[in-house]
Symmetry: C2
Subunit: 215 residues, 2 copies
DNA sequence: ACCTGAACACCGTTCAAGT
DNA sequence: ACCTGAACACCGTTCAAGT
């Protein structure tokens, strides 16, 4: 007969799932993905250790749900970065890479979760697969357009170019996550510029092949 | 007054440290780096859960010791691959990349451990830092030589080229660890060829800049 | 339908005590 | 010097029972 108080401990009636995702993200930010504990999330929300298992079958499913949210945001960021870009196909290609890297830099915890393939069930989430695929498709499309417009040599294998572009961008993002830049003599403040310069160099190299074509 | 039996359970007197490293590697191969448990390693060796802590101050130190061994082997593999290479500086550069990638493919557990920066204390191990640095230096040296010999345009920034090469190679290795190739339509059996083709494409692009120089 | 309480089989780590 | 045994504060997960 007593009405539940407006905001406080309203989790108990419907939004525990969302609250768990938020608590888990907070834990990931504080301790990294491995530090996410279902029990600790429950404790912070004032529910029993068993309560989360009504909403997620296991820890992996909770992590996967976080990855879904993250991949959605990455997809939107890359799309946005493409929408703003008014240049040619080569510049659109750069734009996809810069958008991806910028998001990875600004949301390291989210990016870590997407990358933690051992802690999420990527194949088990259609949304996750779709989001990741869309980002890849935008890269491949820009590359094909660049070749069609004569900005990159047409003889080069489109799939190989795409894989090179992806390996470079993913490599840069992971080098940051895995703390490689310090050993490369690049201070944290210089990382964004170094990433964009590397990306620009790759695009320059690709564009150089078109000039050879005309020679 | 009883002499210890020759081989069986000789860990108890001197080589428990090495036995722990071997048991931990076996666990890493079976369950991944996160699955390495100090207790389980001790159990498999028939010692108490506290025994390992005489040899490693904590789990992280055990993981770091494994990473030291791994980085040593990677360094040797890359060096070997360079020794066998009789071609020019550009071919030496490819060789470093191929050696790195081949090792990563053949020893995924070891490579995972080196990459698991959140589970090891890289800065705390001089040997680890040294091994990683040497591999980087071999890349940078081959690149500089290629520029000096006119095989890559001299105007290009050597540091930027090195970072691009590293990002590409590390990206490829991580894409395999993180199971990205399936989504790129590349079957496991085709991964080595795809990696080498991507590497070859990058070197080709770099070499194309030298031809432009001469034009 | 959603949550609690208690339980089970695990962890990493510490520390006094044994040889 | 090296290891044991017991303890502490944690995990993920299950399940009967409560509302």
């Amino acid at each position: 007969m007593v009405m539940p108080k407006p905001a406080a401990r309203s989790y108990h009636h419907g939004n525990l799932r969302q609250a768990l995702l938020e608590a888990a993200l907070e834990l990931a930010q504080q301790r990294g993905p491995e530090g996410v504990s279902v029990r600790e999330a429950a404790r912070r929300l004032g529910v029993s250790p068993a309560a989360p298992f009504r909403h997620f079958p296991n820890r992996r499913a909770l992590m996967t749900a976080m990855a879904e949210e993250a991949s959605e945001r990455l997809r939107i960021e890359v799309r946005k970065s493409l929408t703003r870009e008014k240049g040619n196909a080569l510049e659109r290609l750069s734009s996809v890479g810069r958008g991806y890297l910028q998001w990875a830099r600004r949301h390291p915890s989210h990016f870590r979760i997407i990358s933690a393939r051992d802690q999420i069930d990527i194949a088990g989430s259609a949304a996750l697969v779709r989001n990741v695929e869309e980002v890849r498709d935008l890269t491949v499309q820009a590359l094909r357009a660049a070749q069609a417009q004569g900005l990159i040599a047409a003889e080069l294998d489109a799939a190989a170019l795409a894989l090179l572009a992806r390996a470079t961008v993913y490599g840069l993002a992971r080098m940051q996550l895995d703390d490689h830049f310090g050993q490369w003599g690049i201070a944290p403040a210089a990382v964004p510029a170094a990433m964009n310069a590397t990306l620009a160099l790759l695009v320059t190299l690709m564009a150089a092949t078109a000039k050879l074509d005309r020679a």
